[in-house]
Structures are given as C-alpha cells and as structure tokens.
Symmetry: C2
Subunit: 363 residues, 2 copies
C-alpha cells in the first residue's frame, strides 16, 4: 500500500492506494474517530458491486451506515438529485457528527462531497473512488459540486475529505471506456508537471491498461502526489492550482454543449488537451515533436483527440467557455504548455485562434 498526504495544516489527510482496501474502510474511519452514523452514497452501477463490502466493513467497526443510491452518469450531478439525497440524510437522522462516504466515480464523489459540504452546514467526508479518473483526480483536493444546465460544476464548494481510499482492485470492474477516460487525467499530470511520468506512460501504457497491479498503484500514487503537492500549495485555486485545468476549458464546454451525453469527462478533456496543446504550439512555442507525442499518447490510450463541429456548434462552444468559472472580466483564459512537464496559466487566446484550432482538430 502506498500513502500520500495532502498537506493542509489541521485539515491534512491521507490517500491510501493499493489493492483490496475497501475492506478496511471501517477501521480507517474508526482511527479518525468519525461519528457513529454515516451515509454511503453510491450509484446504481457501483452499489451492486461494492456497497455490501463497504457497509459490512463499517458495521464491523461499530458504525451505523445507510446506503443512499443515485442514478448513474453525469446527469445525476444536479441540484434536484442533491435535494432528494438531503431529504434522505435527514430522514435517516444524520447529525453534525455523522459522515458521508462517496463510493463510486467522479460523479458520486462530487455530488456526495457537495452534500457533505452543505448538509447541516458541513459534515465529515470520506472518498472511496472506484474509477481511475476519480482516484487520480476528483477524489483528491476538495473540489465538490454539481452541474447547472448552463455548465459543469457551476455550483459547489471546497470541502476536503478526511480520508481517501483508492482500492485499485475496483478498476477491474471498470468498463474499458471508463479506464481510458481516466488515462486522460493521468496523462495530464505528465504534461502539466512531470515529464518523467509522461515518459513512463509512453513506455508502460500497455501494462497500465492491462491493470498490472504494481504499475497501476505506482502511477495512481504518483498522480495523487502531484495533485497533493499542487493542492497543498494552493487549496483555493488562486494560482498554481489552475494548472490542473489544462484541457478543461474546451473539455468542459464540449460536455456542456453535448449536454453531458456524447462524451464522458475523460474523453472531453482528452480532446480539450490536444486542442490546448495545439494552441500551445501556436502561442507558446510548444515543439511540434512534443505536440505529436501528446497527441499520440492520447490516441494509444484509445481516447478521442478531435471532434467535428459545425460552425453553429463552435459558436455554442465559445459561448459555453465564456460561462466557465475560469473566465475573468469576460475573457477566456487558457492553461497552455511550454513543454511537456511545464505549463503556464492565465493565457489569453484570441477567439479566432480557438476557432481555427477547433476546426483543425476535427477527427
């Protein structure tokens, strides 16, 4: 088992990464002296696989868990579903000292975290991510929230978990498509922060995709380390943390205009990252060779690297970007790469450049 600490003073917490960790969830929660009652939030896909195990582990450690199920998929991440969950938490008498466990992917984690941030003005929160994407990204760092019709994650909070348990065994039940989507965030850490990780992925991609236990645990732990370091330095995204948004400006907008339907998050940000890399080549001098390496690695991971859009769709995409949280005074800001392993935030990009790149990257 690998352990990474997210250094946030008295709100610091640990991420444990390894196989068969879900069994020990109850014990870990007891070590943290969490309250007796808890709600395990999971979706209708993950709950049948792992909820029983988690509930049993919690009960064995003296907790009183209840299971709250939500629909599967991004459409569950909305205010209305949150409202139904709140009423269930209240019905089951969760108190201020109770806690919420997120068991599932990014959607479950984001929604459950938002519930934990706001139910009774905030209760303790534990992440048990079961997808690669959630393990390397959304379960760490405390960003939680729900979507609006107008855009992704427009409502939310910063609410750090008390504990993150990444059981890499759960990746074995993950559909191939979801595994690939998770790779989009893994590759991102290489581009934005760690050229060595990027090179390792180029070498070890087949092993990762075959879920070789050691390699996966290594890679997930390295991603968590990078994220922990970034979040530890800039919890509220006033500076450094924004590098994590590489590929997300276009990616989020793409999800918004396709109504969270066509692309899952990892796919949308794969397209977004290749577009951002292309803009980087034009604006920041990212070399053609590195641009090609980036594009190729996404392709090898079976991720989409472009999208065919009509002029109308491009206009809607730009419109959605203007609504992004990262917009300031109406200007769309980009994270762009100077080279693999180093990015710069807050880059102004003229809209005609964005349009040109979107037209160019059509697959």
């Amino acid at each position: 088992m690998r352990t990474v600490t997210v250094p946030l003073g008295e709100r610091s917490y640990r991420i444990h990464i390894g196989p068969n960790l879900l069994q020990s969830l109850g014990e870990r929660c007891r070590e943290l002296r969490l309250g007796r009652r808890c709600a395990v939030i999971s979706d209708v896909r993950v709950a049948p696989l792992y909820a029983k195990l988690v509930i049993k582990s919690l009960e064995a450690s003296g907790f009183e868990p209840v299971l709250v199920k939500i629909p599967a998929g991004e459409t569950a991440k909305r205010v209305r579903v949150a409202e139904r969950c709140y009423e269930q938490l209240a019905k089951n008498r969760l108190e201020r000292k109770s806690f919420i466990v997120a068991l599932g992917g990014g959607v479950v984690g984001d929604l459950a975290g938002f519930l934990a941030a706001t139910y009774l003005r905030g209760v303790d929160f534990v992440q048990a991510p079961t997808t690669l994407l959630a393990q390397v990204d959304s379960s760490v760092g405390g960003k939680v929230g729900v979507n609006l019709a107008a855009g992704k994650n427009l409502v939310g909070a910063f609410h750090q978990p008390r504990l993150v348990l990444c059981d890499v065994r759960t990746l074995r039940t993950l559909p191939k498509r979801e595994l690939a989507a998770g790779m989009a965030e893994v590759i991102k850490y290489g581009i934005i922060y760690d050229a060595e990780l990027f090179a390792r992925l180029e070498a070890d991609l087949p092993k990762v995709l075959k879920l070789d236990a050691e390699t996966v645990a290594d890679v997930v732990a390295r991603c968590c380390e990078v994220k922990a370091e970034v979040v530890g330095k800039d919890e509220r995204e006033s500076g450094l943390r924004a590098i994590l948004n590489f590929g997300h400006t276009i990616g989020h907008a793409l999800e918004t205009i396709s109504r969270y339907g066509k692309y899952i998050h990892g796919e949308a940000i794969a397209i977004g990252q290749v577009a951002a890399a292309t803009l980087s080549a034009r604006q920041l001098g990212l070399s053609k060779g590195e641009l090609l390496r980036i594009r190729t690695l996404f392709e090898r991971a079976s991720l989409p690297v472009g999208v065919r859009l009509t002029r109308g769709q491009i206009a809607r995409l730009l419109e959605a970007m203007r609504l992004d949280k990262k917009v300031s005074d109406g200007r769309i800001k980009f994270v762009l790469a100077k080279r693999i392993g180093e990015v710069m935030v807050g880059q102004d990009v003229p809209e005609d450049q964005i349009t040109a790149v979107l037209e160019m990257t059509a697959d």
Copy 2:
C-alpha cells in the same frame, strides 16, 4: 451612523447602522473593490420598494447589477428556488469576482448567502437587510442556508458577508407583525448576554415600536455588537455561539411542523424562548420573577408566548427537534437561562419535561 466590526481576521467586515444608508451601497462596494458584475437578490415584496434605489446606487458607482426576484416568505428558502436563481446567475454571466447583494429580510439573506457560498464555489456577498429580524440577527455571522421538508436550515454553509448595511429607514415599510417578530431576536440578546439591554427594552419598548430613529439605531447597533462579539469568538459554533440558539430548538421545530405557515420565525422563537425560560426555571433555577419579566416583555411586544398543541402535535414537535442540527447522538440539547443576561448551552432536558412545559405554555 453607527459602525460595528465583526472581528474575523482577514475576513473581518463592518456593519453600518443608520437611516438612509441604501443610497450609499454602491459607494461602499466600490471601497471594497468588489467585482464589476453583481446580482441583487430580493423578494417580490421588497423589490418594488427598494430595488430601484439600490440598483441606481450600484450603477452610479460603476457596477453592472442585475435583479433576481424570488417569492416572498419562508417557502422561498428551498433548494428548488436556489436552483432557479443559480441558472439566472449563470445566464447573466456572473463570474468568480462578481458579487451577490441580499436586499430583504432573513429569507432573502439566507438564500442569497447560500447562493453566494456555492455559486462557482463561492463569490462575494453583501447584506442589505430590510427587516428588524435580519438587521439584528440573520444578516450578521455568516450562517446561510435553505430549508428541507424535514426541517429548517438543514442545508447551508458558513459564508461571511463583506459588508452589512442596516438602513433603519426601511423598517418604516415593515408590517407591524414583522416588526414584532424582529423584537423576538432583540429581546433574545438581552436574555442571553446583556441584562442592561433587557432592562432598556423594558423601559423603551414603546419608542422602539414607534421606530424612534435614535432608539432603534441604538438598539440594533447593540444587538449587532453582541452578535459580532459572539461570532468573532466562535465563528463555526463549536461553543459560545450556540447561546444564540436560545429559544430556537422548540421554535424551529414549531416552524417545521406547521410547515413554515402559521408562525413567522420571530413568533415561533418567541414561543420557543418562553418555553426555554420555563424549562430554565425548572432545570437551572431561573427565578420566577425573571421568568415573568421575560414572558411579559414578549407579550408587550405583541408576540405569542404559548401555543395550544394536541398530543399528536407534541409528538411531531419532539420528532422534529430530534432532527435539529443541534442534536448530538440522538439527544436534544437546550440553551437554558440561569438569569437574564446569562445562559448555559448543551443542557440535557428529559422529554417528559419538554412535554410538560409545552402543555403548560398553551395560550
């Protein structure tokens, strides 16, 4: 004009109290260098009276305000209304640096504050309370939130405003019933913290109710001082702040079982305070004389001091209390008074005592 500072380190803020302050809202926001765009949240009763003035003041100082109207009354304080507001904020392109102004009573302030706490994971927030209750209580201290069917304020956050502007002129358009309801919180400060204020209210009640400008500004400022002091010492209610809940355990439950219909908040907590004072006489030795003074002052302010409940209603009331945020390990905790000016928190009260007092206080 009186000014009170809420001492919270770098999140400290000022409360200004006096007549005709709404006109200067834009100027004050400019002094704080708030972002350009803002949303003024108001309800359909208050907006026709003051929204134009506030919008004009903001525009005159270079801001770009939009008005977002919500229904009047406690029923507006719910998740569904929040969702509609979020979509409007997004539609009007409010950004991270934008801010939200609450123009209205406690419902508007609590809902608008919750929007500010969660829209884009938090934006700046300004309170312009127009009711006595909001001026002395809900606009100060950062507690924001919405209700669930299961109970009041069960969803929320701590989100401090950047500024509170109590324009006491607005109290002139307040219905008598709302003014009386506000007095319930004013009297509370006397009971929990300031015997001198209590005595002053006994002497000056007619002047306050006639809205004598000097007296009202004095009293509002004193209440804000007490609240600022309490909140400054215990922002997140881990101890001292709980004294502010005097009368609220029964009061909230009463609102819940009457579905926020029969009693407005101040009335419910007037009943709750008289019940808590009666329990205090039994449990903590509050003197009969002081209990009578408390009861009498509420009566003189035209507030209800008891309620006739069926056995079934009392059972539902107890049930609602068990769901209160203040419950810990299933035990209902009370704030009780030792004497006027001094209370003790976390008091266990046997349920049969609660029942007996509720039966006794029937009006």
